[in-house]
């Protein structure tokens, strides 16, 4: 199975084209069922996709930042195949949308090649990307849902009250074996390509080695770092303004059509070399964490996120964060506060206006009122949003995979019972790695009490 790639295309919108472009893109509430102009559903590799517009604004030095169109996709590798598909299957829509942008090939110069060139030239590296489960393709997710659904029907149609677990599992396996359209399920999913796994492995251990080698220096600098950090944290001014009731309502109007939702927040980095350096290091750490620590369905205690990414843009002056997650924004914000405050504080406290933190990890978004007031002031509307599986939560997807894997696993009686409990409901996720579990069980509330 392929690993996943995150495509970010940012293009400057031509003068006077923001309004017509926004009109063309519309809003989620207008076309949450489907949006025909760029038919993402026809692309085999896309998990999630979105278009959004960043309005013209200015940075902290009052330098102006131009209006920009952003296209994001989360896709199965290789990325080149996805770009190729976009430039051919979605050629017409892509042309109509990006025609509002600078540098897009002129009418007579448009071809799959020039479109791909444009997308590549305007694509932007993500600082960190969270993928709920690396290596789980769109095809696998859809297949395993149909497997689960077919077995559920089989279970409904028969009375198994008097059957012992082991026999029941055999009967389910026989049912699957007897269905040629489900026979693939009797093999476990293949892991991502060996070359990719070696690359990830190398990244992990070289990073650790680098940290080890630098550790004397890090320890030496720690007191100075803490001194500077506290000085900044005391001086930085949190933004206490509120978004207007109308804009908050507009965000809500685009939410809760599906069991999952999306959010995007954009902000400027705090000024100065110190914050810039801290932000860089923390984003590096986030990249490491999402790839090697939080890579089994859980990100800093949250198991509801399908895909999320952090991208620095505008020459390093701004950062945007996007997420596709299960449940309402209210529950997502509560999850942030209740379960993941430390990680989010570390990243976002380098953003201008963020609620005041203490020692990077404490305070910040644990101030419920300040955080829920702050987020809408940095939120940006997503105009077009696509999900390849809008009816499935991360828990559904993980449970479906566990059902499939179980078919080809030998189990003792207790394991068989547990596997059988996965039908109808699956709240048992596979366990995070050791480091992730340690991080998630740190008693932050107690630690942070000492920070004040």
């Amino acid at each position: 199975m392929p690993h996943q790639e995150a495509l970010t295309v940012i293009a400057r919108i031509r003068d006077g084209q923001v309004t017509p472009l926004k009109k063309m893109l519309g809003s989620i509430r207008e076309h949450h069922e489907s949006w025909d102009l760029v038919p993402f559903a026809k692309l085999a590799r896309v998990h999630f996709a979105r278009f959004m517009v960043f309005d013209a604004t200015h940075d902290l030095d009052s330098d102006s930042l131009p209006p920009q169109l952003v296209l994001l996709t989360n896709v199965d590798a290789p990325l080149s195949d996805h770009l190729e598909e976009l430039a051919t299957v979605c050629a017409d829509g892509l042309d109509r949308v990006f025609a509002h942008c600078e540098d897009y090939p002129a009418l007579n110069a448009r071809s799959p090649t020039t479109r791909v060139q444009f997308l590549e030239q305007h694509s932007c590296r993500s600082d960190a990307v969270h993928v709920n489960r690396r290596g789980r393709s769109v095809e696998q997710i859809r297949q395993e849902e149909s497997l689960r659904s077919e077995i559920d029907k089989f279970l409904d149609a028969n009375d198994f009250d008097a059957v012992v677990p082991a026999t029941l599992k055999e009967r389910i396996t026989a049912f699957v074996r007897g269905r040629s359209d489900l026979a693939w399920a009797l093999r476990p999913p293949e892991p991502p390509a060996l070359s990719w796994r070696i690359k990830e492995w190398a990244h992990k251990y070289f990073s650790l080695l680098a940290v080890l080698l630098l550790s004397p220096l890090i320890l030496l600098c720690l007191p100075l770092f803490l001194y500077l950090l506290r000085r900044h944290e005391r001086r930085d001014v949190p933004d206490t303004s509120s978004a207007s009731a109308e804009s908050i309502r507009a965000f809500r109007d685009d939410e809760d059509f599906w069991p999952h939702n999306q959010v995007v927040a954009v902000g400027l980095f705090k000024p100065g070399l110190f914050r810039e350096s801290v932000a860089r290091v923390i984003l590096r750490m986030a990249d490491f964490a999402t790839r090697h620590i939080y890579n089994r369905g859980i990100l800093s205690g949250l198991n509801t996120i399908h895909f999320a990414r952090w991208v620095t843009f505008d020459d390093g002056r701004r950062l945007f964060f996007t997420s596709n997650y299960d449940g309402s924004l209210e529950s997502y914000m509560n999850d942030f506060i209740d379960k993941a405050a430390w990680g989010l504080n570390a990243i976002f406290s380098n953003g201008d206006g963020f609620p005041r933190t203490e020692f990077l990890f404490c305070g910040g978004i644990t101030d419920e009122k300040a955080y829920k007031r702050f987020l809408p002031t940095r939120q940006v509307q997503t105009n077009v949003w696509y999900s390849a599986y809008p009816h499935l939560t991360t828990k559904n997807i993980a449970n479906n995979e566990a059902i499939r894997r179980g078919l080809s696993e030998r189990m003792d009686d207790e394991q068989t019972r547990e596997w059988l409990r996965r039908f109808g409901s699956g709240n048992r996720l596979s366990e995070s790695g050791w480091v992730a579990r340690q991080l998630d069980s740190l008693p932050w509330e107690r630690i942070c009490r000492h920070c004040k």
């Binding site: 309502r249 809500r252 509560n334 101030d367």
Partner: protein, 479 residues
């Protein structure tokens, strides 16, 4: 721990008035604000100081945002109330979506509180020990309405069913949060910060929930208390609470009829036994009230008021006793959810989503005894009956609406697929949010029922603010 100012908090917030079997809820419109303010100034409001005796007459009052505006509350103060309250229950498409108010439950169909109905400004709650006393207190309080500057939109009646049952035949209102600084008894897992239910006290995050504060010059008579966390302001919200009111019509015949189609064969015993078994799985308690967690095999009336249980810690992590999708498990999951089922952390997270319920049934019972055995098989009588659901909370979005959307109506609750609340779920407005499945976890493998119709229809509703006693006097003094 802050001690609550019980003399300032209206009585229905902290007491259920369980000894008063008769109640009338008056939906009122303000016709003449000046007269209404005079009336407000003299209204004998019951406080939370003492639990009522059977002979007492109790009156409480709450307002919609429109009502407060008519009384002359300034825009900037109105703007400090919760957004959910000022927008109103039917105010946005999004709110209808998360509350499940679509189809027959859409506000256009409502009897009151909808966009096509007369605007409700004031909700007057009257309680008494018998019907005659109730009528007397209503008469004494509002008289001919007109002379008070009011117009009656509707008087909603209530009924007391035997054994504190609701219309489907199950004992109701057993689980309530214990309030820190007020309730002396309560297990630690059920003890919730007062600020979750009464404004002006620290909430479950240790913060003071946003609420309207006024500048001292806006309160020249100094009727309002000083805000505890902002001494430069007077506190209009303090000792108040948001009241969520929904009239929920229950289709009792449809409920038992569906069970009679589905349960026999799937569950042991004759039709009645099988129906009760499945219905109890759906509720999470037996008809007597006994929780399935503590009495999984059969009803046990000795446990009728038993509320001392968790799910994971009580050995039911997998829902084999009390199904994961059951009504009681999803409306108050206790220790069952993330971040770590069975842990103190999960219990603490759960405490940020609690409500105090103060609802009352209305309409004639399907059978006088309210025993399911007598309700099952009764022909449809087309009588309107249901629950005047109401609850108190201070953060409507994080409490009532969260419970309604993330737990009750969500087909994805705790790893489920298409299971919304079997009892009160909305069954989903779209293909992606479709519900109507109920899964009963058991060995060797789950059973489930599908195609469940909606048993509960919304007939009316609104978000109200129930001010503290001083805040009512302040409203009465507005120019």
């Amino acid at each position: 721990m802050s001690t609550l100012q019980v003399k300032e908090i209206q009585g229905i917030v902290l007491h259920g008035y369980g000894s008063l079997n008769h109640a009338g809820f008056l939906l009122l419109q303000v016709q003449n604000a000046a007269l209404v303010k005079v009336w407000l100034g003299t209204l004998p409001l019951r406080t939370s100081e003492q639990r009522p005796e059977a002979a007492d007459l109790c009156i409480n009052i709450a307002f919609t945002a429109a009502g407060l505006k008519k009384l002359g509350l300034a825009e900037d103060q109105l703007g400090m109330f919760a957004g959910e309250f000022t927008e109103g229950m039917t105010g946005t498409e999004h709110r209808r979506r998360i509350l499940g108010d679509h189809g027959e439950s859409s506000p256009e169909q409502w009897r009151w509180g909808g966009p096509g109905n007369d605007g409700v400004d004031v909700l007057l709650l009257c309680y008494a020990g018998d019907e005659e006393a109730l009528n007397r207190v209503v008469e004494r309080t509002v008289g001919d309405y007109e002379s008070r500057g009011l117009r009656l939109i509707e008087r909603l009646g209530t009924v007391k069913l035997p054994d504190r049952k609701e219309h489907f035949g199950f004992r109701d209102g057993i689980s309530q949060p214990a309030i820190m600084g007020f309730d002396e008894e309560g297990t630690p897992g059920n003890m919730v910060a007062a600020g979750e239910f009464v404004l002006g006290y620290p909430n479950a995050y240790g913060q003071y929930t946003d609420r309207p504060l006024v500048r001292p010059e806006q309160d020249p008579l100094h009727l309002l208390p000083v805000a505890p966390e902002a001494a430069s302001h007077h506190d209009l919200g303090m000792n108040g609470s948001y009241l969520v009111f929904r009239q929920l019509s229950q289709d009792v015949h449809e409920f038992w009829n569906y069970l009679a189609q589905q349960a026999p064969g799937k569950f042991a015993g004759d039709t009645t036994q099988a129906c009760i078994a499945l219905a109890s799985k759906m509720v999470g308690r037996w008809p007597s009230g006994a929780p399935l967690v503590n009495s999984p095999q059969a009803d046990n009336p000795a446990l009728a008021d038993d509320n001392d249980f968790m799910f994971v810690r009580s050995g039911d992590a997998d829902g084999l006793k009390c199904p994961i999708g059951s009504h009681v498990r999803r409306s108050n999951p206790r220790d069952a959810l993330d971040p770590e089922p069975g842990s103190d952390r999960s219990i603490e997270v759960g405490k940020r989503h609690r409500i105090i319920r103060r609802g009352r049934a209305y309409g004639p019972p399907a059978a006088a005894s309210m025993q399911p055995g007598e309700i099952i098989g009764k022909p449809a009588d087309n009588q309107e009956r249901g629950l005047h659901f109401f609850c108190f909370n201070t953060h409507i979005g994080r409490q009532f609406e969260f419970i309604q959307y993330t737990w009750v109506n969500s087909p994805k609750f705790d790893g489920l697929y298409e299971d919304d609340d079997p009892l009160i779920g909305d069954r989903g407005a779209t293909e992606q949010t479709r519900g109507g499945v109920f899964t009963v976890q058991q060995e060797p493998v789950r059973k489930r029922v599908t195609g469940m119709p909606r048993f509960v229809t919304v007939r009316g509703g609104g978000y109200f603010f129930m001010p503290g006693i001083s805040a009512v006097r302040y409203l009465a003094s507005l120019k």
